[in-house]
Symmetry: C2
């Protein structure tokens, strides 16, 4: 229900990974300023599918994947030219990204990709751990038959990906696993909030899997989590999930520290 509001950003076309080379008209890899000559004279009127959402998803992908660097400015006119649209839908898209917390808007300076510093990332993981733990605790008591099946399937898929050492696949299935827990907690609002945070941490979560052996360890944790939920042990599931996420946070800190990539804040 509250999906409409919270997870509005990046709701559609998120499963299509890869394949985001260029918006539409300018097939060239010309990056930022573009403003190439528009062959088609800008179709006026109401398009079949709203362009604003499309632009939002695309920009979000660029930000989350790190293609757009933190601190980079999102120029309305440039983006508009790049997509072959006017500033109006671009403004709408950027506003939504601001609401989602991926972009900061400075009153008369413009919109900038929000670079999250290490401190803030740790804070966000701390909250994420709490929310996930809560979801797990509630799920242990409230999960239904359908969701239980989904959860099992998601974990099986994780296991399969881990066995074939397919990091990308594991990343994807891991998403599904956690979504399944959110949906099993019997609190749609909590699920939506968790999803929102999850999206916001997506870019950094992906890095974690680079840590050696992380995938295997993650899978083991998943198995313990499912066991707790299946046993109806709410406190146990909460503890497992909390440490699962917290470890991610710590690991991430380790990774960042070792890479000497401070991820500049502003």
């Amino acid at each position: 229900m509250s999906d409409v509001s919270s997870s509005s950003v990046a709701s559609r076309s998120n499963t299509q990974r890869g394949d985001h080379s260029a918006p539409n008209s300018s097939g060239q890899g010309d990056a930022s300023a573009g403003a190439g000559p528009q062959d088609r004279p800008r179709a006026v009127g109401r398009p079949a599918r709203p362009r604003a959402g499309e632009i939002r998803d695309f920009l979000e992908q660029e930000i989350v994947t790190g293609e757009r660097r933190p601190g980079e400015r999102l120029d309305e006119s440039a983006v508009a030219a790049r997509f072959g649209v006017s500033r109006t839908p671009v403004r709408e898209a950027i506003n939504q990204l601001v609401s989602a917390g991926l972009v900061d808007q400075i009153p008369n300076r413009g919109a900038f990709v929000r670079g999250m510093g290490l401190a803030e990332l740790v804070e966000m993981f701390e909250v994420m751990a709490e929310l996930e733990g809560m979801a797990g605790r509630l799920a242990a008591r409230r999960i239904g038959e359908g969701e239980r099946k989904r959860l099992r399937e998601a974990m099986a898929a994780c296991a399969e990906a881990a066995e074939s050492s397919d990091t990308d696949a594991y990343y994807y299935e891991n998403e599904r696993f956690h979504q399944a827990i959110y949906d099993s907690c019997g609190n749609a609002f909590l699920a939506a909030e968790a999803r929102r945070l999850h999206i916001r941490l997506k870019a950094y979560r992906r890095l974690q899997l680079r840590v050696p052996q992380r995938m295997r360890q993650s899978l083991a944790e998943h198995q313990r989590i499912v066991a707790m939920i299946e046993a109806g042990d709410g406190e146990g599931a909460e503890a497992e999930l909390k440490s699962h996420i917290s470890v991610q946070g710590e690991r991430f800190a380790d990774l960042v520290a070792s890479l000497k990539a401070p991820l500049p804040r502003g």
Copy 2:
């Protein structure tokens, strides 16, 4: 920090309570369609203060106070006429309300005031309890001298308001008390998230104080919370805060049930 993103909606001019009779031009209580003759010919160009935010805050007030009934349609043209502006800033305002979760948008039907049903309110209070509990637990370990002083002052103010049975004052000081806890948890992101939820529940929180003896009991709970934090007992503070909020949720359900105001969902 993340105030910019998360609590963007209803960030300013929220402390100014009351004083929201009419937008600007049409002083008449003419409600919806309006479209009265605009004496001033619609100032074009960039206004000193953006009108969109103003409109958003106003609509938010109307929704939160129940002036706009759940399920009511927000007609862009009507709102625009009422404020004496074009559809553009109104669209922006409505989009922000959608992001904030106060309004639902149905693709080709329009925007509708989101009526939060009892079920969803309970869900939100459940999450609120968790976040507040977390903030308290962290605050018990991390609170500094300055914040400790602020917390004590806030509680003293609560006590004073309770003694004089001033419900309005207590409502206000209670806000400050909880804000103080948020700010003491050493996690700015958590503080921002808690504040966001707090705002969203504001309308319903106010009703709670109508319950007999609630104010006195709330104060007692506050005292226990502070005691736990001062003692550095994180788990204790968490438990106290959780039950503090949860009680509010249950009490609220009682209140709603007794008032026979089902608050229809959609």
